[in-house]
Amino acid sequence: MIEAKQRSVLKDKSDVELAIRLIKHGARMNMLEQETSISYERMIKLYKEVAGKSPAKGQLPFSTEWFLVWQPQIHSSLFLNIYDGFVKSCDINEIDALIKAYEMYLEHTSRCNIKVVVLTITRAWLLIKFMENRMLERMKCNHCKGQFIADAYENKKGYVCCLCNPPARAGKTTQPEAHEC
């Protein structure tokens, strides 16, 4: 009995630590609830303490379409490549890999002089779920040999990525869109 109690205290501690890391990165409530076993009321309290504001309300954007739009597709593909690298090369659990890969993604974008965070951590998390459920696929570009996110029904033969063959208006927007999620 005592052992069981001690273990639950430790689990609670690691849950709170994980939640704090996720909240700092701007994770939404739905993600926090699914990744930890902290109660809704406590999570709201924790969220307010860490973020200094109430969490955003509403449903998550449960759509794969967003990941196939030019700019989001590039950002999500970068994140996924980093995430895959972590999962394949080291002994790491999924949520740790997600957080570390997300931090590396942020580092890459800031080095590329990109001021707006296109991929939020909640979107990154959703992306992993979509990949696991094969609602999206990894596709290898025949030109650059890079791996990109593509529609599950995309023709693999002769696939060329959106950077080797950008759409006509790609990159011409003056202000990159901020994506709330």
């Binding site: 590396m104 890459h108 974008t109 002089n113 650059c144 950077l163 080797c164």
Partner: protein, 111 residues
């Protein structure tokens, strides 16, 4: 003769700095270090345990310990901002493109 000697000394210097940087990166975050350095878990654990004396000894070899992560001129062109596509896209996109290609090579490097 002096020119040869200089190169040798500079390589040793670079090796020493590289090993020290590597150790610093590993101690900050092991998993991120594997990604940043393209090193296997075993190598990361080993380098982490090296003493200063061992580092100095290893750095003393006349060949560079670090090596370029890629040979593809495609990636070089992206990083140096040569326009590749018939339709030009911006620097940020080229930079992200290079990052995608490099990230995709990590597991090949490590395993």
């Amino acid at each position: 003769m002096t020119e040869l000697f200089d190169i040798d000394a500079e390589i040793k210097d670079a090796n020493l700095s590289y090993l020290m940087l590597t150790q610093h990166i590993i101690r900050k975050d092991k998993e991120k270090a594997m990604y940043r350095l393209g090193l296997s878990e075993d190598s990361v654990v080993l380098i982490d345990c090296l003493s200063s004396a061992q580092i100095r000894k290893i750095a003393n070899i006349p060949t560079l310990l670090c090596q370029f992560r890629f040979n593809e001129d495609h990636i070089w062109k992206l990083l140096s901002n040569h326009s590749l596509a018939s339709r030009e896209i911006n620097d940020e996109a080229n930079c992200l493109h290079a990052a995608i290609l490099l990230s995709g090579k990590i597991d090949q490097m490590i395993n």
